[in-house]
Each structure stands twice: as C-alpha cells, then as structure tokens.
Symmetry: D2
Subunit: 281 residues, 4 copies
C-alpha cells in the first residue's frame, strides 16, 4: 500500500485541474493545459516589476511570479522586500489581469498573503515545515508545493498529503531539481519525476528549469523537455537585465529569450494535446 492516500490515483482517478480566477479571466493548471509562470526571482522595485509584468503578459505568460520573502542561504544576502512589496504584486495583477504567485515562509504572513495573492508557494527548504503545511491545508487557495532538495517523490507526496488532509485540494507540485554530486549545474532536474508523479497522483505538476539548472542557457531545452515528458507547465525566472539582478541573475532569461522559449514550448505541448492555460488566449 502506498503511504499517501488523498494524493493517490487510487483515491481520485481523474486529473485535478486547478482554476485560478483573476481580473482578466480564469487560468488553469492541470492535464490538458501548458501553463507558463514567469517573473523575476525577487521583486526589486515597483517600476521595474510593473514594466516587466506587462511585457510578460504580451509574450504569453499565464501567471506572474515575484518573490517577496526570499529564503537565502546566507543571512547577509538580500532577503526580499517583505510585506512592503505585496502592494506591487497587487498592482501588477490589477494592471495585467494575470494572477500572481509568491512564496510564503512564515505563518505570520498568512493573513496578508491570503488576502492579496492568488497562489501561495511553499519553497523547497520548507517542504517539510509541517506547521506551515497544516495552516495552508485550512485555506481555500491554491498552493504550489516545491519538491525539497533531497526529498524523495514519496516524501514530497506525503507533504502534499499534509495539505490535502486539512481539506485544501488545490495543490500544484513543482519539480525544481534535486541535489546530486554533479557540480556543473546548480541542481539536477529529475525529469523522471514528471511521468512518475502523473502515474502516482491526480495532482498537476510543473517544472522550474531556472532553479533546477542555475544557467539561463539551459532553461529553454529543459522547459521543452519538461513539457515533452508530460509536465503541465513551467515556472521560469525572467529579468529585464539579468546581469544586474539582486538574486539569481545567472539563471534568468531576458524577455526576448522568454518569448523564444514560449513559442517552442507550445509546439512540444501540442504533441501531448495541451493548450495554453490562459482562457484569454
């Protein structure tokens, strides 16, 4: 018997499709769609974020990302704008009509993020922060659960089970690379997780090729690979000027390269009968 229950295919044979209502219409994540989430690693300031948000919308992004609370390995690195940046995401959402996603690190930020953000992301470092997962299980709000750096697929699905057990069924899994001995890349994307997760569970899965590789030149091929393997979409980092990014510049696409990636992605997705996730398209 598999240790996870509510997450299992046996419990729910049909694919879960997440519906996100945003000003410009509904966006879907799940089987049949190829959802593209894009934005900078961290929100740095209002004008740059708004400017980029508009460009990303034109180029086919379905959901906008932007980190406010950044879990940084060193306490001396830029930690994000925090609560003061929430309003920037709200404005970007209003102006573009697209839903927004940001990471939650601390239960004490739950109120402000719940009220303003469309999807709450649990980062890989917090995948087994069970107190946080239990709180998120009480919400009626989509959760994106990133795989921990050394989490087995079973542990990952059991983390999802913590949220499901609380009553929240809206979970998007995100493969973002695991830790191995290889040092050329930041992490090793476990592409096999995609078909395996599709087989074991009814939850949608997307891939984050930016964190998984750490190199922008690898983002496009790995995004294509993810969709070809059956992923329901990708989340990528885009920055207007990657060389000047406050974090993760090396793995960020320029808007131009993002557009190239998206057009290629859709072709691979169509072989698997998937369509762009924004109802507007």
């Amino acid at each position: 018997m598999k240790p996870f229950q509510l997450a299992s295919r046996e419990y729910c044979a049909s694919d879960t499709v997440i519906t996100i209502a945003a000003p410009a219409g509904k966006v879907y994540v799940g089987e049949g769609y190829c959802t593209v989430i894009a934005g900078p690693c961290a929100v740095e300031n209002r004008p740059d974020y708004l400017n980029l948000a508009h460009r990303l919308k034109e180029m086919g992004a379905d959901i906008l990302r932007g980190g406010l609370f950044k879990p940084r390995t060193s306490p001396y690195s830029f930690q994000g704008l925090g609560r003061s940046g929430v309003d920037i995401l709200v404005q970007a959402r209003q102006e573009t009509g697209l839903p927004v996603i940001t990471e939650i690190m601390d239960i004490r930020d739950l109120d402000i993020l719940y009220a303003n953000i469309d999807i709450l992301q649990v980062g890989s470092r917090n995948m087994q922060n069970y107190s946080l997962l239990e709180e998120l299980g009480k919400l009626d709000k989509p959760i994106m659960l990133k795989r921990g750096l050394s989490a087995t697929i079973e542990e990952w699905l059991l983390a999802a089970e913590y949220v499901l057990k609380g009553g929240n069924k809206q979970i998007i899994l995100c493969e973002r690379g695991i830790r191995t001995f290889e040092t050329y890349t930041r992490n090793t994307v476990d592409i096999g997780a995609v078909p395996l997760v599709k087989q074991l569970t009814h939850l949608p899965i997307i891939v984050d090729p930016s964190h998984a590789t750490g190199k922008w030149k690898m983002v496009r091929p790995i995004a294509s690979a993810a969709v070809a393997a059956g992923a329901d979409g990708v989340m990528v980092e885009v920055h207007q000027d990657p060389d000047r990014a406050l974090s993760d510049g090396k793995q960020s696409l320029t808007p131009e390269n993002f557009a190239k990636m998206t057009s290629q992605l859709i072709k691979h997705a169509q072989i698997n009968l998937k369509q762009p996730a924004t109802a507007l398209h």
Copy 2:
C-alpha cells in the same frame, strides 16, 4: 573568504563551551567534554518517561532528550504529545536534576518551550526555516542545530550564522547523517564533518548515531567513532522496550546497551583528553 563570519574560527579562535544550568548542577557542551544526551525519540507517557529518566541518570546521561512535537514524514504517523507533554519533561528535570532538550517546530510554541526547556532543538527538516532561526537568535537559551539531510557543511554553518547574527551565541551543532544512495542504513553519517567543523568553527559539535544509522546495533560503534574523531558528545535514543516504541524503535538502545556504550565512549574520549560532562558535577 568564507561565507560565514560569526561562526568562523577567524572570528573567534577559542572554543565555545556551552554551559547549561540545571537543578543538579551545571552541564557543559564543548571542547574538553564528552556530553551524553539520551532518551526516547518521543515522550509517550509520564510514568515510562520518568522511570527511564532515572535509569539514564544512573547510567551516566548528562542531558535528557524527549520529543514532544514530532516532524513525521506522514501526516498519519504519531505526531507527539505536543504542549501537553511539556510538564512531563519539567518533572523529569526536577526529579533527576538533569537538563532537558526537545525539538521546536513552530514559532507559536516558543513561549512555553523557552520557559520550561533547557535546550531547544532545531530538527534537520527545519535547518533552513529562517523565520524560526531568526526568532531563536533573539533568545538567551542554548540551541541545538541539526544538520539538514542534504545540507552542505557551509549551508549548515550559514544556518548557525542566522542564529548568531541575532545575538544568541549558544549553538550546539549536531551531525545526524546525510542522504546518499546507500540504502542499508537510514542515512550516512558524515564522520568527516566532525574534524572539519572543529577546524572551521568555534562551535561545539555532537553526533546523533541513532538517526544517522537507523539501526541500534550500529549506535555503539558509530558513537565511539564520533568521539574518536573529536566530537564533543553524542545524542542517542534509548527506550525501555524498543519493540513497542511509537517511533524509531529500530534505532533505539535498551538501557543496558546504553550503559555499555557509555563506558566504552569514555575510554575513547580519554585518548583525546576529554572528560565526561558530568565529571564536573
């Protein structure tokens, strides 16, 4: 330049020795001492815990452990007694005179644990829960920081840096095994971390051979190895009836085997000119 600063040998050349005041006298963790922390994985009920606590004291334990909040991979596993068990640890501390340690998972438990517990443990799953680390940095209370399952030594010391940066200098590092491809053992104890940490930092380091191996038969040899390599002590799981433990029975020593381990441990420690922490009592 090393990315950690307050944790580095360059910042503080002399070894940090942690002093823990308890009813029966002070207990030390750090260079020159071989401190033995023992107890069950989880506190299960009052009479069993108190009974075991007295036996462990007789057998040479310096500090009592007992989990109240258990971070379990599955939401369907026993999750610990929670806040209602704090009083059991308080009574054990009072009766034996030994200090107690337990894990903190949630910032909302900080008040009750701060008021009653001698050492607060951060588990491997929360090693990069920076919100928690920052709160612990504000306390005047010893913290035991377990290494994450796939944390590099650098990331581990940077997690310690989050606590040190807040002003709390009382950190005990605990190597508890890392995740590798080997499946015979639960984890792979990184014995090299012991001399390396001693070289890189002034903080004390102990080893947890119970979680690192997952097999009680390996606990004694790995505990000996840890001390021979220069560790400042060990933390081991002991249960009166391992076969009936609610968690981690397979890796728990019986009290009899714990006594055998301790007597051998002291011999290895003496070669490195270390003395049991209780010797000062």
Copy 3:
C-alpha cells in the same frame, strides 16, 4: 581552462557527426539526426533475436542493440551468450541491413568484436577502465561511451578524452541515468546533461531511458524529453515478451510500444529541426 581538450568546443567548433556504414546504407549519429537504437538487453537466442530485429527495422529502428557480455552485479545472474553470440548479431546485421552495437567488457574480446560489430559500447561500470579506453582509442571504429553511475560530466568527457587522445574521434556519448537518493526509479536521468554536453563538446549525445528509469512506462516520456532537450537520439530496450526476459524485462518496451514511442519522438525532433537518421537511407 577546461580539463578536457580534444573533446571541447574550443578544439572543434563544428558538431561531430558519426557515419556508420551498414549493408542497407549509411546511418548517422549527431546534430541534425534523431537516431534510434533498439533491441533487447541481452541476446538470448538466435530465432528470437532475428525475429525481433526484423520487426524493429520495420518500426523505424536505425541501429540494433543486443548485449553479449553482460556486466551483472551478481556473479549468479545470467552473464550473456559471450563470444558464441557474435554470429547472431552478424546474421541480424546481414538480414536487416542495419548496423549493430554491443558492449565490450574485456580487452581480450577486442579482435572478434572489432571484426564483426559496427559500434563498440563501453558500459557505465567501465567508464573509467582506462586500459580499455586506451585500446579503443587506437581503433577506426565508433565507440559509445556510457556515463558512469556517479561520474560528473567533467569525468565523463575526460574518459572520452582518453579515447580521443589515442586518435579515435568517433565517440557517441550516452546519458543513462545517475545514482541519487531517489528509489522509485532505478536511476535518475540527468536531462540537463544533454544541453550541457552540447555546449561543452562537439560530440553527439544520446539518452538511454530504459536503464535510466528501470520502468517501461517511463521510457516514452523520457525519450521525448531527451529529444526535446536536444539529444541526438535514444537507445531503448525492446523485448518481444518483457515478462520472460532474462534481464531487464521491467524496463523493456514491447514492439508495439516501441512503435508508439518512435512516432511521437519524430514529432518532437522535428521541432528542433532534426530528422530521423533513417531518412537518409
């Protein structure tokens, strides 16, 4: 400076394309082609192998595989037909007109394999068997060099360098999964190796999704992912009756599923402007 030289892009900017002359015409491996290598893990007997070979040709295989010398973890497992099976591969080559590939484990088999086989494969266990690599460097014969289970990309390219240094430029790299902590799959396919190898070296790279995953259900999606990521082809295990295979049955496709995979693969390959290697026949 990169430690590999003859393998590097700096040494040779244009892509190396391997040409294999076979009775039915030339087959190519390299940029612009999507070469499909297929066959059973081990050659088991003459009629089954010949029968399968014909079916694979009809279904679009470009090269036939079949192990004669099987490096098995246990000395008690089936070790392959050895030298007595060479003639079966020769007959299959003659009848189908397709080139054949088999693994070489022992320098003493070099003469017979050189005389009869089109591509000599170095298995992952022998990737750093430098005596063997040096002998292969003296030949005018294509070599397929599988990545070692825990070999970094740098070590892999340095192993290729041993062959190149001897004068043999005809090397096909094969990613076949690396060893990680994940246990659901046999190995973890490092899909990032594909774009990275393309960037670092001029040598062609293919992916073996059968060994990488250990599960036949994952072979099709991972083969698609490999080609979408830019791989020059795939090598897959096919068996007429996987449940009765003497080795690796669980990861073997039936001929029917092989045909499905191939048709999908071609669609992904065409997005990257690649054509099947057989198109030139």
Copy 4:
C-alpha cells in the same frame, strides 16, 4: 535472502584473517589486529621510495603501499611508473622485510604483479570490472577490494563474491569514501560501512582516510574513528614532501604526522582488543 553467499556471515561465521608472509615475518589483516598500510600515492623514484619505506617501518607501518599504475581522471596527469617500477617495490620489500601492495588495472599486468607483489589492489574505478575480478578469483594471493565511489554495500560485497566464486578467499575490503553532494571533502567516508560489513560478512575491512577526505588534517581523526568503529586497520598516504608529490599531495601525511597518528590509533584499537598486525612488534 541476501544476494551474496560466500561473502556472508551465514556461510562462514568465524572471521577471516588474512596471513601475508613477508621476509621479516608474517603480517595479519582481520579481527583482532589493527593493520597499518602506508606509503606514497605513487612510487616516484627509487631513492625516495626506499628512504621513505625504511622510515615507515620504524614508525610502525605493517605493509608498504605504492602505486605503479595510476588510474587518473585526466589522460594528461602523471600515470605512474608502470611495470618499470615493480623492481623498486621488490627492493623495498627485501630491505624492510615488509609486504607490499599495489594496484592492478589491467589483466595483462597480472603475471608480473603476481610474481612480485604481496597484495593486489582493485581500485574503486574497477570495483565492477568483472573480467579483472574473475581473473583475481583464480589466484592464491590476497586481494584488496576498494569500494566503488557510488557502490552500495551490497554491490561491493557482490563484487567480492566474484572473486570468492573463483576460489580465492583472501579478500580485504577497503572503504575509501563515497560520492555525495558535500564538496568540502573529496569524498564522504561512510563510517557506518565498518560495523555493517562486520555484521554482514566474515571478511576484514580497513579504511582509507586519505582518499576519503582529500585533506591530510582529517586523516588522523578519521583513522581513529575507523578503528573505534571496528575497522581492522587503515591505509594512509605518506609522502616525505607532500607539497612536491606528483599526485595526492594535499591528502598525504608527513612521516612525523604518520607517527603521531599511529600511536593514537593503537590506543583506540586496544579498547576494541586489537593489536598491531606485524608479528615482529
């Protein structure tokens, strides 16, 4: 059922002790002894090697090591003196009376090494070179089988089984570090392998802290840890002038540090009731 048979405790309950006859008397490897193997990574020239050999004997080495055939990751690194250096080891053996060990990489060197060397070492890269293992199984000569960089304990014991199956029962296992994500050390020594191997098999096991750590400062503590954990000895690299070594200088002890290590090692060994392995002591 365990997949290994001749190597198992079930097959042979009593510990195998290897006896090596050398000019100065017998040397033992196995339960009850603490055998110290020492020497430079590679034999570089005659006078230096002979000079060092005499010093090592005085300082308590039981067996002399010295690589002639060096499996180097890059084909451009120093590859060892090869066959021409055999005579240097022969002379050192004659002058000191100690047995010698060197690595065999190629079956074609078997004759000359069999005739002159006391223990043939199989390196980690060749642990699954089954052709080589089968040939060694036919000899009446002790074999040291190093664990592969990513070999599970089961795969390692199955490699030993290849040798045992051929009839050669004289196998010494050597743990030399496994490959993990940690980058501060060259490899991660799996100290748990020591008690586990002792439990699973009757074969002796030693530890190589030099390759396992890659840092000479870690060699002494890890050697002590190995013996405390129950290892039957250690193999360490010693060089008269580590800064000028042609290979592995960073992990080589000076003779002075070797002497310090040995004296401490014996104390830890005596707690486990082990004695030096040279009959002369």
